[in-house]
Amino acid sequence: MVSTEQKLQLLKSGKLSAVDNVKQFLSAIDKDDQKGKNINAFLELNKNILEEAKRVDEKIKKDKAGKLAGLVISVKSNINTLGMKATCASKVLDNYQSTYDAAVIEKIRAEDGLIIGMTNMDEFACGGSGETSAFGPTKNPASLERITGGSSSGAAASVAAGFCDLALGSDTGGSIRNPASHCGVVGIKPSYGLVSRYGLIDLSMSLDQIGPLSQDVFGSTLLLSVIAGKDDRDAISQQSKSIEYSKLDSGNKIIVGRLKIKDIDSKIQKLIDVRVEEASKKYGWKIKDIDLSFVDLAIQTYYLLVYVEFFSGTRRFDGRRYGGKIEEACGPEVLRRILGGSEITKAEYGGKYYDRALKAKQLIADAFAKAFKDVDCIVMPTVPKLPHNIGEKISVESMYAYDALTIPANLAGCCALSLPAGKIDGVPVGLQLMSDKFEEQTMLSIASMIEKLG
């Protein structure tokens, strides 16, 4: 398989046409998405993609193509994409056609990326396994009987199965990094405010971010460099340092913070430790063991916030302007969060839930800010355990525990990514890196050097 960097060179040099690139992916999708392996990564394909690819080929010939020049990209079904359905993998929005392009889609189109289709996901991004989709679970291309992780299940699977070059997902508590880890691909949660959420159907607005997935660090860095930037239509978006996909080299003056957390599968922890030691030895990086206060309360903090914000955000799904009434058409996990959020909202006068969680979030953010004064990045596993089999019975608390290591970065607002670190019992395991807010370039450079270890 060629790397994303090599693919881009082939496209820009004309040795591979955008049309042929698209055709290869359409053929792979036809073979294994709804038949063959039945991955079920896509909910809808873009019928106009070959025409769009022809136009990109014309621009490439005239040397006028953008940074993405014919790369093929899948989009999570909670990101509005004109001409396509944004169903959020829910029967509530079964027939909802996007009426406009999200900011990230505008940017991808402007740089000549080709959108191949809308991917499966946990319903309204409520889930960490990919099983809560109303259109059936997505299978993990690396281990077909197991979950992909979620909620960006189709995004990660579409990259891992070789259905596209790049993917867009969204990450509120690990929804990009968790499936990236289970499927063996790279996934980035950008710093809060780096990427505009205009056009994203939100799960929890104080935590949501849109980010890229790809087979390698270069691919995700390239797509992130395209979608990052201030947008007046998203009040929290900020202009930050530019992201240079051609300068991924961190040098040797790196201090890696190693965070040890209890309740992690010992095989997974060992795999990560070996990887970090290898990088340290080869590049001369220093490793510093660190401790982060309150991080063990991240799950509790996160869900108190998410239940309330999700309940509030879903009040617009009342069946008038689009779709059906959410409480009548959604599945159990979405309903759990709506009913729970409603309960909290009624009881909040005592400040027992949301206000308490907001303050706990602040403590966690402060702990991260303090840690990043001493280290360039923090490393740990992305997910504490291997993925379960699709349909396996599991408690709510066990399901929420999948995100124990990814949630802290969302609460702190810092950037984080998952990078393939190896396999256990044939199942991919991700290494998670976190860096301070808007220090994506440092984090991506460190990731690139770890990736080069092979």
Binding site: Q97, G136, K359
Partner: protein, 84 residues
């Protein structure tokens, strides 16, 4: 419990409500051990949105928006009183 999507029955709905409350109470209790009295929430910069004059949608926007509405009559989206 399997996490695969399914239609929720009235009976299950009530179970889900009770379970959600139990989980949230449990989570809230765990946070109660923190000393939060003196925690000051940071003022987020740039949170105030400048509304401006808005943007003008393209000519097809209205048609696309109405196409998504389940019940409509010419230029109006219909919503039955007290049904939402």
């Amino acid at each position: 419990m399997s996490y695969l999507w399914h239609q929720v029955s009235e009976e299950e709905r009530e179970e889900i409500r009770k379970e959600a409350k139990r989980i949230l109470d449990d989570f809230s209790k765990k946070l109660a051990s923190l000393k939060l009295k003196d925690v000051v929430l940071q003022d987020k910069e740039n949170l105030g949105r400048i509304e401006g004059s808005g943007t003008t949608p393209d000519s097809g926007f209205k048609e696309r928006m109405f196409a998504n509405a389940p019940n409509k009559n010419k230029d109006a989206i219909l919503a039955e009183k007290k049904k939402w």
